[in-house]
């Protein structure tokens, strides 16, 4: 598949990395020769110097026969124009990053009338992800499959967790909940565990279960957290605006601290139900005065990563139950685990995951199509949801007779409203939703076989 990526910024770079790993042909277009040079050195891609809105450049890059163009330059207008030009030239699918709320409100017009297959708004996506975390605060992060029927939650085992030192096969006896641990992160290693795997304190567990079972699980291991009712947001970026709006819709009380007066006025106009505080979020006295000790959750959204990290640590120390940290530069996020910061969101990762999901879903084959895709642990493993079609190779055969790849786990079967944790005797049937956790790259459902 030929993929053109226009604009190599934070998102462009991570997209190039992930898509080139999937083996597609990539041509990147950027106006900065230095960025092109470093990107070509890092990944096996072709670089073209020039503007993505230039007809000649697009033709040179191969827009006439490209399968997909992703425009992620800093300018919304440029992205849209670039996509439209590519579409006219013959590119089959076009994706534009569009950030301005003005455009975001006309998404359906842009997809129906302008033919944009997907518009992405990283700030909105990040805010949406954060709102989901706040809705379910017991886990570090939750992702949903099958339109919310199955959740994938990430938790960290604390030192006093009753599960420490137990083998996975013993868990069902201890727990009052039907859950499945589909991946474990220990240090830098990611393990797809078997029954005799022993979990230890400090491990990060990835768990799939229905919403109700997940709640039961959290209660029985004593890490259940009350619903979040009050949230303090520090930093008044676009993400803060989207998040405040989403949380307001969920009925939470939101307080937003922003240090620029002009922006405060704008926000107070846009968010009538949110308390806007004009002041420096990095000021300890101000935070205490505004009652940071008493809020259920705190979200750090300033434009400086370091400030977000320090403030998160401070909030944690004051005993805020749920802290979400926004990070833009993800090079060292693995170190943050040791700081006891758990919920870390980076807009570029969220965005690229969404685009990747779309790309996988483009590979709609005979066997089945990718419905959902999450990259976990910095992309080291993936959780995918397939909609199984009438695929003779895998349907109707008991799982124990299927020759599956190693390091691949069939986590769940979703049949109608029922969630099945498959055992050796179960079979996959056409129409099932199938959730797979693996460190391989699975593009087609048949790829799960050896």
């Amino acid at each position: 598949m030929l993929v053109l990526i226009v604009g190599i910024g934070k998102v462009g770079d991570i997209l190039t990395e992930y898509i080139s790993k999937e083996g597609h042909n990539i041509v990147i277009i950027d106006i900065d020769p230095k960025i092109l040079e470093t990107t070509i050195n890092k990944y096996d891609v072709l670089g073209i110097l020039g503007s993505g809105t230039s007809h000649n450049i697009l033709v040179e890059a191969g827009a006439r026969k490209a399968d997909l163009l992703i425009a992620v330059t800093t300018s919304d207008e440029m992205n849209i124009l670039c996509c439209l030009m590519a579409k006219c030239l013959g590119t089959k699918n076009i994706i534009a990053r569009v950030r301005d709320p003005v455009y975001s409100q006309q998404r359906s017009f842009m997809s129906d009338e302008l033919g944009l297959n997907m518009t992405i708004n990283p700030e909105y996506e990040a805010a949406y992800e954060m709102s989901r975390i706040l809705r379910f605060p017991s886990a570090i992060k939750t992702d949903i499959f099958a339109k919310g029927r199955v959740e994938l939650a990430e938790i960290k085992l604390g030192e006093d967790n009753p599960l420490n030192g137990h083998m996975l096969s013993e868990l069902s006896a201890i727990l009052k909940a039907r859950i499945l641990i589909c991946a474990v992160q220990r240090g830098n290693e990611v393990i797809i565990p078997s029954g005799n795997f022993k979990i230890e304190s400090g491990d990060y567990l990835y768990i799939t279960a229905s919403h109700q079972e997940l709640s039961n699980f959290f209660k029985s291991v004593g890490i259940y957290r009350e619903r979040v009712r009050t949230v303090m947001i520090i930093g008044g970026s676009n993400i803060a605006y989207y998040l405040a709006e989403l949380l307001d819709g969920l009925g939470m009380n939101v307080k937003l601290v922003e240090k620029e007066e002009q922006r405060c006025l704008e926000l107070s106009d846009l968010l009538p139900n949110t308390k806007i505080i004009y002041g420096d979020g990095a000021d300890r006295a101000l935070l205490l005065e505004e009652g940071i000790e008493n809020v259920d959750a705190c979200v750090l959204l300033t434009s400086i990563d370091e400030e977000n990290i320090i403030l998160s640590m401070y909030a944690k120390k004051l005993g805020v139950r749920k802290v979400i940290t926004k990070i833009d530069r993800t090079s060292f996020t693995d170190l943050l685990g040791s700081l006891d910061l758990e919920s870390i969101i980076s807009p570029k990762t969220v965005t690229s995951n969404n685009i990747l999901r779309y790309i996988r879903a483009m590979n709609d084959t005979m066997g089945g199509s990718v419905q959902t895709l999450y990259k976990l642990v910095d992309g080291k493993i993936e959780a995918l949801e397939f909609l199984v079609k009438n695929d003779k190779l895998i349907t109707g055969i008991p799982l124990r007779d299927l020759k599956l790849k190693s390091n691949l786990l069939v986590a769940c079967l979703i049949r109608g409203n029922k969630i099945i944790y498959p055992r050796g005797g179960d079979t996959i049937e056409p129409g099932d939703g199938l959730i797979i956790v693996t460190n391989h790259i699975i593009k087609d459902i048949d790829d799960i076989l050896l």
Binding site: L2, S20, G23, N25, I26, V27, P33, I40, N41, K42, Y43, D44, V45, L46, G47, L49
Partner: protein, 481 residues
């Protein structure tokens, strides 16, 4: 530095060289030569050591610019050392230095020989010499990139270190496919040469070997008198034409394949190349007219020699050392200029000279109009300042290397013309120079020290200085930041 990955890739390359050596072995068996054992031992050595080095895949497969340069530099040296073994074991070339010199000259596509009489070599040895030249022409690492399955993403560093030219780009997004296209064009054109030479009445074996020499712009012949042996205007014409064709940037042929004929002819480098060719042929023809007395012969010899020099091949049909001084200077300039970047030629390359000339013009203009701002443009695209600086540094180091080499070679007793032309002919991968190392002579008269200096010059020329320079620099090997 990541030594494991360096050794791993070199292991792969040794195995490939071992496999390449099977071809002359087959020829030796076919001709019932006595030299069979002199191939079997190196093949076993290469395959054995290569396999040992590649048994375990290194876990850390990170490859940066430094590793890329070291891999390329080491590969070529190791390749030449092992490649020389058949000559030594069969004692067809007795001295170790001479055997290595012959092999370095082959792989770097220089075509400088230490053999007074090449016709006494067995066919398999002749084949190995020319075959090595052909492999060296496009580059062994490019070959590896073409055949290995999904290579590491950072292998661009390797490709850049091996393919000549100031800026090396890819043709398509995948490096492996790029390498395959390049080799595909190379193989196809070589086959065309073989067929055309066969039509001209050259025996098959000779055709293949001369096609190798032409394609790589190397210049090894299997006759003592070179191409003149065949005394055929047709054969000379074919070889001259293809020396020129192999001097043109291969990326342009890819454009032709894509049907972009207009873009092909738009290439600025190609225009300059054509201009240089035509003016050189004209000047030399006029200058040597009085020797041959008729325009036809003068044109025939001058055009062949100009093609041979500008493409840095080094084939000769006449002893041009006997030509007037003016023609010799023209040929010497052609040797230094070389042809297009991204071809199989040596020399500085026209595109580098274009950058140098245009930036010099810019600087001069700046002296007159201090406030003027002007971009250096090649092929209608702005050349980045980094590339300009890189080119200038390349040129300075190149001059410096020539000076040092001439200085070292002067320890021999020969005249300046010999010393200077030997260095120029080596560092630009031509082969024959003037006087003692001229077309009618060979390099056997030089001392061992001179031979080693020239070998390094050939490496410097083929790999465009940096890989070998990095290899020789102690800082590469000392653990320091």
């Amino acid at each position: 530095m990541n030594y494991r990955i360096v050794l791993y890739i070199i292991g792969h390359i040794m195995r490939i060289e071992g496999l390449f050596m099977v071809v002359p072995l087959i020829i030796a068996v076919f001709n019932r030569e006595e030299t069979i054992l002199s191939y079997i031992i190196p093949i076993i050595l290469l395959l054995g050591i290569g396999t040992l080095l590649t048994v375990k895949k290194p876990e850390n497969r990170r490859l940066y610019a430094k590793e890329g340069l070291v891999i390329v530099g080491l590969t070529w040296i190791i390749l030449s050392l092992f490649g020389a073994l058949p000559f030594i074991f069969s004692s067809e070339i007795k001295s170790f230095t001479d055997a290595v010199f012959e092999m370095v000259s082959a792989f770097t596509t220089s075509g400088a020989s230490v053999l007074g009489n090449v016709e006494i070599l067995t066919p398999s040895q002749l084949f190995w010499r020319s075959f090595a030249q052909w492999i060296g022409g496009m580059g062994i690492l490019v070959f590896v990139l073409a055949i290995l399955p999904q290579t590491e993403t950072q292998s661009m560093y390797i490709m850049r270190a091996e393919v000549p030219g100031p800026v090396v780009g890819k043709l398509v997004s995948k490096i492996r496919l790029t390498a395959r296209i390049l080799y595909g064009i190379y193989v196809a054109l070589t086959i065309v040469v073989v067929i055309l030479l066969l039509i001209g009445g050259m025996p098959l074996f000779d055709s293949v070997l001369h096609a190798f020499g032409t394609a790589a712009t190397g210049g090894f012949s299997i006759k003592n008198s070179g191409i003149a042996y065949y005394d055929s205007v047709y054969i000379e014409g074919v070889i001259a034409a293809f020396m020129i064709i192999f001097s043109i940037n291969f990326n342009l042929y890819y454009l032709l394949l894509l049907g972009k004929v207009r873009d092909f002819f738009k290439s600025e480098e190609l225009k300059w190349f054509t201009a240089i060719l035509i003016s050189a042929v004209t000047l030399v023809t006029i200058n040597i007219y009085h020797i041959y007395g008729n325009i036809g012969d003068a044109l025939r010899y001058s055009s062949f020699q100009v093609a041979s020099m500008v493409s840095t091949t080094g084939y000769s049909t006449v002893n041009y050392h006997m030509w007037p001084e003016f023609s010799k200077v023209v040929l010497m300039i052609l040797m230094v200029v070389g042809a297009c970047a991204g071809s199989t030629c040596g020399g500085i390359k026209i595109s580098r000279l274009m950058i140098l000339g245009k930036s010099a013009a810019r600087e001069i203009r700046k002296i007159v109009y201090p406030r003027s701002v002007m971009a250096v443009k090649i092929e209608n695209k702005k050349v980045e300042d980094e590339v300009i600086n890189g080119t200038i540094i390349f040129f300075i180091v190149y001059i410096f290397l020539i000076a040092v080499s001439v200085f070292l070679i002067s320890l021999d007793v020969f005249d300046f013309e010999t010393n200077f032309s030997a260095v120029i002919a080596s560092i630009n991968n031509i082969g024959p120079g003037y006087a003692i190392v001229g077309p009618a002579e060979n390099y056997s008269n030089l001392s061992n020290l001179s031979k080693w200096v020239l070998m390094f010059d050939m490496f410097f020329g083929r790999l465009e200085i940096y890989p070998i320079l990095i290899l020789l620099s102690p800082r590469t090997w000392i653990k320091k930041l």
